[in-house]
């Protein structure tokens, strides 16, 4: 099968976590004999080709980051420019990634995504949600590769059927919520580790103020 992958990420391809996920996903997808083409909506010069690819192909996958509980504005803008297909046979699937660890954070967006294929005259191949992706670019290549590893298998299994089967979702789209123990850790000792790590990354990026600075208050509270 040939797949058209459209990245709805706002971040440029070279710095995009979604682009890294797509690359790993395609490795698995291609391993079982499929081909693909990928278009990045962060580059407006690609929009025309992405639209043509959507119109002329039958296996479409949108890969996107969760943005304020839904799809990024640029992806919504792109979707608004598509016409519903008049003939059957096209299937749209979604690969949704978020920074927070819980899959449940993506459910509100998923509910919207569920409605899109029918509105665009297409069938639905399911939505795969994966959280905890914020550190992909920040944590270095070794940890990044570990975070990306599951996407190779997810891509392979997706490539076999062209849909996100319930077995793939059950195996890899986890956790729905953090466990009690994870919550205790996150609000306890890990909170200080996280703050230390964030300050470290911020300093490396050239940050010169506190991460909880209040620039629009006359006096800091």
């Amino acid at each position: 099968m040939h797949f058209v992958i459209i990245s709805g990420a706002a971040r440029t391809q070279s710095k995009s976590n979604t682009a890294k996920i797509i690359a790993a996903f395609c490795e698995g997808l291609h391993n079982c004999g499929n081909t693909s083409e990928t278009w990045y909506l962060s580059d407006r010069k690609q929009w025309k080709s992405a639209k043509t690819a959507f119109e002329e192909n039958e296996n479409i996958l949108f890969a996107l980051p969760l943005y304020v509980e839904n799809v990024p504005g640029i992806m919504l803008e792109f979707l608004a420019g598509l016409c519903a297909k008049e003939w059957p046979g096209t299937r749209i699937s979604f690969l949704l990634q978020g920074g927070f660890p819980e899959v449940s954070q993506g459910r509100c967006c998923e509910e919207f995504l569920n409605t899109l294929p029918a509105q665009l005259g297409c069938g639905y191949g399911g939505t795969f949600i994966k959280g905890d992706m914020f550190g992909l670019s920040l944590l270095g290549e070794k940890i990044g590769a570990k975070l990306l590893q599951p996407f190779i298998e997810i891509g392979r299994q997706f490539g076999e059927n062209g849909v996100f089967r319930p077995e793939i979702i059950e195996a890899y789209s986890t956790p729905e919520y953090l466990s009690e123990k994870q919550i205790r850790m996150a609000n306890g000792p890990l909170r200080y580790v996280q703050r230390f790590a964030m300050r470290y990354f911020a300093k490396r990026l050239g940050c010169r103020t506190k991460l909880d600075a209040k620039p629009f208050c006359e006096k800091e509270e």
Binding site: V71, L76, A80
Partner: protein, 170 residues
């Protein structure tokens, strides 16, 4: 009560103008941003507002005055067109740019991870929309959006139900 209105519909939209007039009458102070008169570009996802210049967006356009206004006004009402059952992309572009109001730090609240808010302010956001929006979904989305920004949702209402928005803000 100080009311902020952010309108992504054209100024010529009669229902929007009527609603804005009624809302202005109901409040002591009201400011309306007409997005068609402003340069507001989409969020580029650079994370600078969290990690490089905390609280300040790296995109230099007219958005900063909206960020400041969120803090200065008690209630914000978004006025938007709809597409695909949801707010249209113009409003989503505006709302995506709200990220500087949260910090990079997170904590777990009621079983889910949330960003720690940057300012000690409980936001109140409402949505008034034109077109065939899915009211149930828009209401759910507003609730989620407010939850993650430590705010209270006043709900999502079609123009025909603008009185309900008035009731929520009075």
């Amino acid at each position: 009560m100080r009311l902020l209105i952010i309108n992504t519909l054209p100024k010529e939209h009669l229902l929007a103008e009527k609603a804005i007039c009624r809302l202005e009458e109901k409040t002591a102070e009201c400011k309306t941003f007409y997005i068609e008169d402003m340069k507001i570009t989409p969020c580029i996802g650079c994370n600078a507002c969290w990690l490089k210049t905390p609280g300040i967006c790296a995109v230099k356009d007219d958005y900063e005055q909206i960020l400041k206004a969120y803090l200065q006004y008690d209630v914000t009402v978004f006025i938007s067109a709809t597409a695909l059952g949801f707010v249209d992309y113009k409003m989503k572009h505006v709302i995506d740019r709200i990220l500087p109001m949260a910090t990079m730090y997170t904590r777990i609240e009621n079983g889910q991870t949330r960003h720690v808010p940057r300012y000690n302010k409980e936001f109140r956001f409402g949505l008034l929309y034109a077109g065939k929006g899915n009211q149930d979904y828009l209401t759910q989305w507003m609730n989620r959006f407010c939850l993650n920004f430590h705010g209270i949702s006043l709900g999502a209402f079609p123009f025909e139900a603008w009185e309900e928005v008035c009731a929520c803000i009075s």
